[in-house]
């Protein structure tokens, strides 16, 4: 699953730690999600989307084979 978290963070000029603190997860979790190694639960995906004031589909996208 692809994601645009890095792009969305860059728009707001915030760090992984800032995002992690805002949605109540660890910095390592944001790093793992951002690099595509960990697929978040629907709750975390919704929290991330809400933080960026957008929809889940705008942040996360299914890839071929998912």
């Amino acid at each position: 699953m692809k994601n645009n978290i890095k792009v969305e963070r860059a728009k707001l000029n915030i760090t992984q730690s800032d995002l992690a603190h805002a949605i109540g997860v660890s910095k390592q979790t944001i790093h793992s999600i951002e690099s595509g190694r960990y697929v978040p639960s629907s709750v975390i995906a919704l929290k991330i989307a809400r933080y960026f004031n957008t929809t889940v589909e705008q942040v996360f996208e299914l890839e071929e084979g998912d």
Partner: protein, 181 residues
């Protein structure tokens, strides 16, 4: 099982650390200079008590939540528990096999029980804290046996675990030869 929880709060972790540190210090002190605090017990019993205290502290650490106990922490915890269970069960079954084939082997004493507890506790702690803080390539998805075998070159950690279990089993089997002689 509504209402059943097995985890302690994050703040319990510091009590676990304190408890295990005190236990470890007592074990080292008892090993260097055997001493007696309670006259009723021997120095060897004091050493066993110190070991128990250290293990109890580690037990509290295992069952305390992380500061951010998010989904990723839970996923890593589940896999770490599976690995620790696999390691411990393999150890217990191997010793049970060796013991059942050897009439002379004394099976149950406190030393062997501490070893069983230690195998599970240390395997879990090593796996969980490596996975949550240091392992950049943690495998979140579990694959089937065939997928594991076909991707044997990419499954280095998995192979290491199987290898460690294999070595333990071989050591125990070789011990069987010594015991039955």
């Amino acid at each position: 099982m509504k209402g059943l929880t097995v985890m302690y709060e994050y703040k319990a972790k510091k009590w676990g650390i304190l408890c295990s540190l005190l236990g470890i210090i007592a074990v080292v002190a008892e090993r260097l200079h055997p001493f007696v605090v309670f006259e009723k017990f021997t120095a060897a019993q004091h050493l066993a008590m110190a070991q128990w205290f250290a293990f109890f502290g580690l037990f509290i650490i295992i069952f305390s939540k992380e500061k951010y106990d998010d989904d990723r922490a839970k996923a890593i915890r589940l896999k770490s528990i599976l690995i620790a269970f696999m390691m411990e069960t393999s150890l217990v079954l191997s010793i049970a096999m060796v013991g059942s084939l050897s009439a002379d082997m004394k099976m149950i004493d406190s030393g062997i029980l501490f070893m069983f507890a230690g195998a599970g506790i240390f395997t879990y702690l090593l796996t969980f804290y490596t996975g949550i803080y240091f392992d950049e390539h943690w495998e979140y998805e579990d694959k089937t046996l065939w997928q594991n075998l076909s991707g044997i070159g990419r499954n280095k950690w998995g192979m290491l675990i199987y290898l460690a279990i294999g070595v333990i089993v071989l050591i125990l089997i070789s011990l069987l030869g010594i015991v039955t002689d």
